[in-house]
Amino acid sequence: MSSANPAGQTPNADRYLLRGAAVLGGERTDLLIGDGVILETGTGLSDARAAVLDADGLVVLPGMVDVHTHLREPGREDAETVETGTRAAALGGYTAVHAMANSSPVADTAGVVEQVYSLGRAAGWVDVRPVGAVTVGLAGEQLAELGAMADSRARVRMFSDDGMCVHDPVLMRRALEYVKAFDGVIAQHAQEPRLTAGAQMNEGKVSAVLGLTGWPAVAEEAIIARDVLLAQHVDSRLHVCHVSTAGSVDIIRWAKARGIKVTAEVTPHHLWLTEDLVRSYDPVYKVNPPLRSDEDVTALREAVADGTIDVIGTDHAPHPSEAKECEWAQAAMGMTGLETALSVVQHTLVETGMISWADFARITSATPARIGQLQDQGRLVAAGEPANLVLVDPAARWTVDPAAMATKGRNSPFAGRELPGAVKATFFRGHATVLDGALNTPYDFAGEL
């Protein structure tokens, strides 16, 4: 497969022929990729110019779209850059990520979101869609210039103060109303600040023993309950970031039954890990929202299976090592996730029989693209569609080694665990960003406007 870029051609003129890939884990077909799109599907295809990839036993899926990524640039380039973060994304099977606004400076102006957008284009590994801050400086006091960000070259449609909760009910109401002007969505980090002052971990049986300040489920659920009612009242779109409790699931299920326009996301780690890991006091397990109980994990898995939770969002949050090599209370919150998301979802949902690969495509690609309004992402695997694809070997097994990852962050909670499923290739706009499970070359945006 090293001959995948035939000599003398620019990368963007790549042509690939995938032989015998199972589309969404179902019917097996050949796929001919060229000119950035899927040219043809069927059996027994041939093409003289195409590099041929044997996809026997592999599953082809639409390129994954992350609604929740921290790329850290600008401001914390020691933790991650757009370049390293999007390399990690490509390796994880992603073709688009939403870059959260809590950079430094905060992405609360057209200037900053355009900068992030341009860095993404320059990197060329995935589509980088900046998320705009809801309030100036994430301070929760005054609306940021949401319209200017929406009209910018970055075409921002998702707004979030992620890391901080828009806790002022009036401000939240105004934000929900205002983004209707350009069909935007507010992605809420649901965390009542007074109930979580100094909070260190889920409040319950384990926090009581460990003497760590509790982070009650109600602090998340109370905000979600308020916000779905606000969204209903002003008839706007609400997206709930990283849902982590069974109670939140119940509220969202109730809201959806009432026709409220709410979507919800869950992280891979909340689908698997529980608060019991905190007993080690190893800050690699410190995250916001915190790891919860077994019952919560079960409820979250069921909520993905029954559609209450719409999408997987990684909340990929790389940190420099010193932010984790310290006391629990001193440590930064967050975990890396881009390079393990596919495997963790396969392990927790696909291999448990709770969802199919077609469902996987819906929750990791189609619905995230719809929420973020990415036209070329999350599409069908069919002739004529943009060639944003990922080729997965579901039978592969690998052991997580954070030091071997493309992200700068070494804070993977899955370190040392054996996971199923490996990304063999990622195609971004028809170009292979990942081949043979390793980074290939980025897509070259130079020729485009």
Partner: protein, 333 residues
């Protein structure tokens, strides 16, 4: 035993061994020469990220009576408070060949972090971490209770546990590392424990603990208590609405003169009153109670040195190097 981090994972055998060893150490305190050569040439570092003169001097006396070299490292006001990390501090102590680190830290779990991080090879003794544990305090409390209980039962202390002893612990359980360590250790030693506190000062999840929980001190006393332990309550908790006023707290949950008198009328002539110190006289305990013959406050302080000697001796006297090699062998096979 490689470290002493918590009582939650301390087995009965180890707990009794520490208490028995403390009995022998206590005898040394009565001798003319109050010093033993057992830890000669060993270095014990008192690493204190939080002020606690009482605990520090108790550990210091313990280490010195065993002839160890003692280095006091008050991390407050030093480079540590200027941003030097626990990791760097640990590696500094490692470079100085510390054999044991006695760590007091405001953050729950810091001693465990130090012990398991690979930054340092020394034995780690938890001298109180955040609102997590204070194992040597619980051990000295258990030691004090065991002596009392054995005397009542006319048994030898050595080898005994606390089966049958009824202990009530009253006060700010939510923020108390002493309460946590005592609950686990007393369970292990066979005592029955009742926690008494306002509901706001009990952690969510306390229902899973191996003890009874009550909001009413008088009814707990009426059921019979052999050891009544009062916990320190910080008056500033009042400002965070944990309770309305110091007066209301003292009336409902303080061990006041009326409750002291009630012990006699309840026929609890042998009940002891314990407090880990420092006391807020007039808040959680009245002066009359603190100074009564029932009070074990000073005995607790005295026993603290014996128990800490025992812990340091048991952690440092064996050939830990070989034990570690053994472990490596086992894990690599």
């Amino acid at each position: 035993m490689r470290h002493l981090l918590s009582t939650e994972d301390l087995g009965r055998g180890d707990a009794v061994r520490i208490l028995d060893t403390a009995e022998e150490m206590s005898a040394v305190g009565d001798r003319e020469v109050k010093k033993l050569p057992a830890l000669r040439g060993r270095t014990v570092v008192n690493l204190f990220f939080e002020d606690s003169t009482r605990t520090r001097i108790s550990f210091e006396a313990a280490a010195k009576r065993l002839s160890a070299d003692v280095i006091n490292f008050a991390a407050k006001g030093s480079s540590v408070s200027k941003g030097e990390s626990l990791k760097d501090t640990a590696q500094t102590l490692e470079a100085m060949s510390a054999d044991a680190v006695v760590i007091r830290h405001w953050a729950s779990g810091a001693p465990q972090r130090l012990a398991n991080s690979g930054w340092i090879d020394a034995a780690v003794v938890n001298a109180g971490d955040g609102t997590h544990e204070h194992p040597t305090q619980a051990l000295l409390d258990a030691f004090t209770m065991r002596r009392h209980w054995s005397r009542l039962n006319r048994n030898a202390s050595t080898g005994a546990d606390l089966t049958g002893l009824r202990v009530a612990i009253a006060g700010d359980v939510l923020h108390s590392r002493v309460a946590r360590s005592n609950v686990w250790l007393l369970r292990t030693l066979g005592a029955s424990v009742t926690l008494v506190a306002p509901p706001t000062l009990l952690p969510v999840g306390v229902e899973h603990w191996p003890c009874e929980v009550s909001y009413d001190l008088d009814s707990t006393l009426a059921k019979g208590v052999d050891a009544m332990m009062m916990l320190r309550v910080q008056a500033e908790r009042m400002n965070a609405s944990f309770f309305p006023s110091a007066r209301e707290y003292a009336r409902r949950w303080g061990f006041d003169d009326r409750r002291l008198a009630s012990l006699d009328s309840l026929g609890l002539k042998d009940t002891i009153i314990m407090h880990p110190g420092p006391m807020n006289r007039g808040l959680e305990i009245s002066s009359a109670a603190a100074d009564s013959p029932r009070s074990t406050v000073l005995a607790q302080v005295r026993n603290g040195v014996s128990v800490r000697m025992a812990a340091l001796y048991l952690l440092l006297s064996g050939d830990t190097r070989e034990e570690r090699n053994e472990l490596t062998k086992v894990s690599s096979s």
